[in-house]
Chain length 136, copies 2
């Protein structure tokens, strides 16, 4: 597979992840994630979830919540490292803008999600120029 | 290398990353990161930085800032995927608690940082039980 085709395949897997917010399809969400026990997930403002059971429980809770808004991905970019890939994208959830790290691993020729972290970020058009910034 | 030894090597590389906050050693920080152009970094509340030049510029700014507090890592856990590894750890910065994703890639037998995202999280001891949570 060419590098461009590989990148397209990873971004397709990333799109499939966000599509589940429109369909609230927990079976699809389950299939998007790796079946390994070592998967992990950091939702914005949540403590880290380590292991398949707490990660999938969180998605069942989120997708079953009638107040959960759709999460739309924008400006996704992928970097491939052998059998791993990192996708970075903005997430728009109602009035909030988040930025996410999605890490995929190639398993039996398919890109499977193994880690997700999402956190708040300024909207892309915001002016963030400051001479000295700190981490908090 | 055994799995336990590999995990120890990844966690050692993760510790080296946080040690640079105590030494403000930009040369050490540069060496901890992969030399690839495709590295990326998402500081808490910042827009995503894609590419080696903006990532290293951000670290030069942060490490040179006299108001930057040390960042102490706690409860790091590593998951290895072939030549890639994901480390998740808490970061304590003054009164703030953050949680980070650090992604490493094995290059010439050494684990090199290729991606970092950090965002706010409740302290580990906080009670977060809520029946239905959303992503915002």
């Amino acid at each position: 597979m060419t590098s461009a085709a590989e990148t397209a395949a990873v971004l397709f897997a990333n799109d499939a992840f966000y599509l589940t917010f429109q369909t609230s399809d927990i079976a699809a969400m389950d299939a998007i994630w790796s079946s390994r026990d070592g998967i992990s997930c950091i939702h914005p403002g949540w403590p880290p979830l380590l292991g398949r059971a707490p990660v999938m429980q969180s998605w069942r809770s989120i997708l079953a919540n009638p107040n959960q808004q759709a999460v739309q991905a924008h400006a996704a970019s992928a970097e491939i490292y052998g059998d791993g890939a990192i996708v970075i994208c903005y997430e728009v959830v109602g009035q909030f803008t988040l930025v996410a790290t999605n890490v995929f691993a190639r398993e039996d020729g398919q890109w499977k999600l193994v880690h997700h972290q999402s956190g708040e970020t300024p909207p892309p058009e915001a002016d963030l120029s400051e001479p000295e910034r700190t981490l908090q």
